[in-house]
């Protein structure tokens, strides 16, 4: 009897589970009304790469969130439909299942809210919900997929569920850093270990970049948007209405950072070395500069070690449901 109970309680069959890379939690959060399941993830994956989700069928989600570029791109700011510049850099959508809010200013509270906004944005994909629904309903393949997945014809909310489900499966981990933290003392070189000590100590990177996903999911003003006495981008304050959030942007994950230049919310820093120089100077002073940002007085050797350490945060990216 007890054995039967244990067997019943066994985990899902291995083939029907996400494979989570080393360094991340096995528990991948998802809302109760959109628990991770194969059908929704696979539908979301198809939608993610489908350019018909943009008005002129030239842009898909993957255009700006390119799997070959750690689900970001190489442009300083995103470029949407008809070559329009969006104003902020395409964030790398890695490990967003653990996100607390979405977009650089945190304007979306859930992934289900987030995934629709680029589609609707006139500078990004510029497709109305009505046109979107019409396109999905006119496609026999989608009709069948939505029917089998959500047991009804395509609806926008189900499209959001499917896209969000897929995004939750984009998981970055299994890096040399993860292996080191898991106990492999040879996973990092002496220089990289020195860089890790700086990362946690003198360089104060862990003030914002901490935890398995190397982000506090918070908003910080580092002065990136402050130039010649004013802010080129107001940042979080537009959403929160708290003046202290002026010029603040969400802390991005550092996973795969070495593979996805340029950096910051506006792509204004070309290399990791530039980023470290920026922080070594104490960011850019302004009335709302985060209290954690101050001159670091790093030596050239320390800066090199930090760059070497950050390179160890690149590893394996998994996406979609395992076949």
């Amino acid at each position: 009897m007890k054995l039967a109970a244990i067997l019943l309680g066994c985990m899902l069959p291995a083939a029907d589970r996400l494979v989570v890379p080393l360094g991340l939690d096995t528990y991948v959060p998802a809302p109760q009304d959109n628990l991770l399941r194969r059908a929704a993830v696979e539908l979301g994956r198809e939608l993610f790469f489908d350019k018909r989700l943009s008005r002129d069928a030239t842009i898909s989600c993957a255009t700006c969130h390119d799997p070959a570029r750690a689900f970001s791109d190489d442009k300083p700011v995103a470029v949407g439909i008809r070559g329009q510049r969006v104003g902020r850099r395409s964030p790398a959508i890695l490990n967003r299942a653990w996100g607390k809010s979405f977009f650089w200013d945190g304007r979306a509270e859930t992934l289900e809210q987030q995934v629709l906004q680029p589609i609707l944005n006139s500078k990004e994909m510029d497709l109305s919900l009505e046109d979107l629904s019409r396109r999905l309903r006119s496609d026999a393949g989608y009709l069948a997929r939505f029917q089998s997945t959500f047991e009804r014809e395509p609806k926008t909310e189900d499209l959001a569920r499917a896209l969000a489900a897929y995004v939750r499966t984009i998981l970055a981990g299994d890096s040399p850093y993860d292996r080191y933290v898991a106990g492999d003392r040879n996973a990092l070189s002496a220089q990289q270990q020195f860089g890790l000590r700086l990362f946690r100590g003198k360089a104060n990177c862990t003030a914002c970049h901490l935890g398995p996903n190397l982000t506090d999911e918070g908003f910080h003003n580092t002065g990136t948007a402050y130039r010649e006495g004013s802010f080129s981008d107001s940042g979080r304050v537009v959403i929160s209405n708290h003046e202290a959030d002026r010029g603040a942007f969400k802390t991005p994950t550092l996973r795969e950072a070495a593979r996805r230049a340029p950096y910051m919310h506006d792509g204004s820093l070309a290399t990791l070395a530039d980023v470290i120089e920026f922080y070594d100077r104490g960011g850019r002073d302004n009335p709302f500069l985060d209290g954690e940002i101050r001159p670091l007085k790093l030596t050239a050797e320390e800066k090199q070690a930090l760059v070497a350490f950050i390179a160890t945060l690149s590893g394996v990216i998994r996406e979609g449901w395992p076949q």
Binding site: A5, L12, D25, T26, Y27, R200, T206, G211, P212
Partner: protein, 501 residues
């Protein structure tokens, strides 16, 4: 922790620090490890396997962090199962019903706590969930092996806990008990149909039970035993007997005359919850740490209470820190130097306002534990810091110079700028050398005399003030040199059992 059939308890032998089992019928204690008398190693948390033949336990090793080890109950033979300095604190909590995995809490160097499954035969660890600093006080696996129940801070809170159920395969999680009360220490009943937990929702810490179906609450929780108050549930045996530790007595802030005599307990609204007192430089105020929420038989959420001796008013400030260990007033009595750690994995020393919740880091030390590093003010700009070496630090420039290469477990600066520190079993005064050999846990200056906290008393210029109450925590001397404040009191822990209804 009780063995599943209730034959013995696994525990640490308080006399030797070894892992031991106490036979519940005979009361006899049998050690399963043999720690060398002069070793700094010791056993800590333990969990008994489903067949009662093995015990998983935390072992503080010679390198200064914890291994996860497994010992045979029959032979005492033991092996290291998991050893990783990056996860330097481990707490085995339970075994899966098939005996193949040990549910273990990891506490990482970056102050992340993790709910993990460690294969009992060795192999890769599976981390189920990471939590920022706020580690569960109790985790327990359901008898069918499907669920883990645990407590953790409610969203946005640093003192109130809710209870959660996490699927063993990581597929989902739900909140079992939520609300403004402190709901902690969940345990599954032997039939797996309910979770027993502690809650203070009626004003005292009582035992409650809630029915559970498919990982969710199936009805309202109900109280089953009231008024146990300061208790720590340990485990439930297969016949439904709950074993728990109960604490009596209290720790608090006391003062005693430097001439000796009977100590007096500080009158406080938070009686029994205060520790680490420090007088302001004008002697008009005292700051101390006050526990919030349930006792944890270890670290608890704390706030700073500041008492005015003129008005008798106690007010509190709550700097957003994960742990606070020790306080020191700034020369202008406006700020407090706080040893401890923040929620971002940084242990060291912080500056907290005495009038608001504002706090900012001063310096952190990767070698420090969550208790931070000791420190004191040399003047308004310069600090004396302990830790891996004794240092002077300029707060403004961040420049440091080493005053003594020896580690400093406690530091104290006198009003005439004399610097004392404790290193190993010596008390050293800079420029003078060793002034005391032997056990010392705290130091403070009374003018130019050094007060040393030692076992069951305080030493002043070789004279001992015996204090049964003294708990070896930090001490502070009034600026007039006539009274010493210390945290103390005696607590007694007993283990009880109760048949669940």
């Amino acid at each position: 922790m009780p063995s599943p059939e209730g034959r013995f308890l696994s525990c640490m032998d308080p006399d030797t620090g070894d892992l031991a089992i106490r036979d519940l019928a005979s009361g006899k204690l049998r050690r399963l490890t043999s720690r060398a008398p002069d070793s700094k190693e010791f056993a800590y948390f333990s969990a008994v396997s489903p067949d009662s033949r093995q015990i998983a336990y935390a072992w503080f090793n010679e390198s200064g962090f914890y291994d996860l080890r497994v010992a045979s109950v029959e032979t005492g033979e033991n092996r290291v199962l998991y050893r990783n300095e990056e996860s330097g604190f481990v707490q085995p909590s339970d075994w899966t019903p098939d005996g193949r995995h040990i549910l273990t809490l990891f506490f990482r160097k970056d102050n992340i706590s993790q709910i993990a499954l460690v294969p009992a035969a060795g192999g890769p660890v599976r981390v189920l969930k990471s939590l920022p600093w706020v580690y569960p006080k109790k985790m327990d696996i359901s008898p069918d092996g499907r669920w883990i129940v645990y407590d953790s801070f409610a969203a946005g809170s640093q003192s109130q806990r809710d209870i959660y159920i996490l699927a063993m395969d990581g597929s989902r999680e739900s909140t079992l008990i939520a609300g403004p009360a402190e709901d902690v220490f969940p345990l599954w009943t032997p039939d797996g149909k309910a979770v027993v937990f502690s809650s203070n929702r009626l004003g005292t810490s009582d035992i409650w039970v809630v029915a559970v179906e498919d990982g969710k609450a199936a009805g309202q929780p109900r109280v089953i035993k009231r008024g146990l108050d300061r208790f720590l549930p340990m485990g439930i045996t297969s016949n439904g007997t709950l074993y728990f530790a109960q604490r009596s007595g209290a720790r608090d802030v006391f003062t005693v005359s430097t001439a000796g005599g009977a100590p007096e307990r500080l009158s406080s609204r938070f009686a029994g919850a205060n520790a680490a007192p420090v007088w302001s430089h004008d002697g008009e105020r005292m700051a101390y740490l006050t526990r919030e929420g349930a006792e944890n038989f270890g670290t608890e959420a704390r706030v700073i209470t500041i008492r005015s001796f003129k008005s008798g008013v106690e007010r509190q400030v709550a700097p957003k820190l994960a742990h606070m260990e020790q306080l020191r007033w700034s020369p202008d009595n406006q700020w407090l130097l706080v040893s401890g750690s923040d929620g971002k994995g940084r242990s060291g020393i912080f500056l907290a306002s005495a009038s608001s919740d504002a706090v900012r880091p001063v310096v952190w030390d990767q070698e420090a534990t969550f208790r931070g590093i000791p420190g004191d003010w040399l003047d308004s700009d310069r600090l004396i810091l302990g830790g891996s070496q004794l240092r002077e630090r300029n707060r403004t420039s961040g420049e440091e110079r080493i005053l003594d290469p020896r580690p400093a477990a406690a530091v104290a600066v006198s009003s005439s700028k004399r610097i004392a520190f404790i290193s190993a079993n010596e008390v050293i005064v800079l420029g003078k050398g060793v002034v005391h050999k032997g056990e010392a846990t705290a130091i403070a200056w009374a003018g130019d005399e050094l007060v040393i906290g030692a076992t069951e008393g305080l030493l002043i210029s070789g004279r001992k003030i015996p204090l049964r109450e003294y708990d070896q925590g930090s001490i502070s001397v009034h600026p007039d040199g006539k009274r010493i404040a210390f945290s103390g009191g005696r607590v007694r822990n007993e283990i009880w059992s109760m048949k669940l209804p």
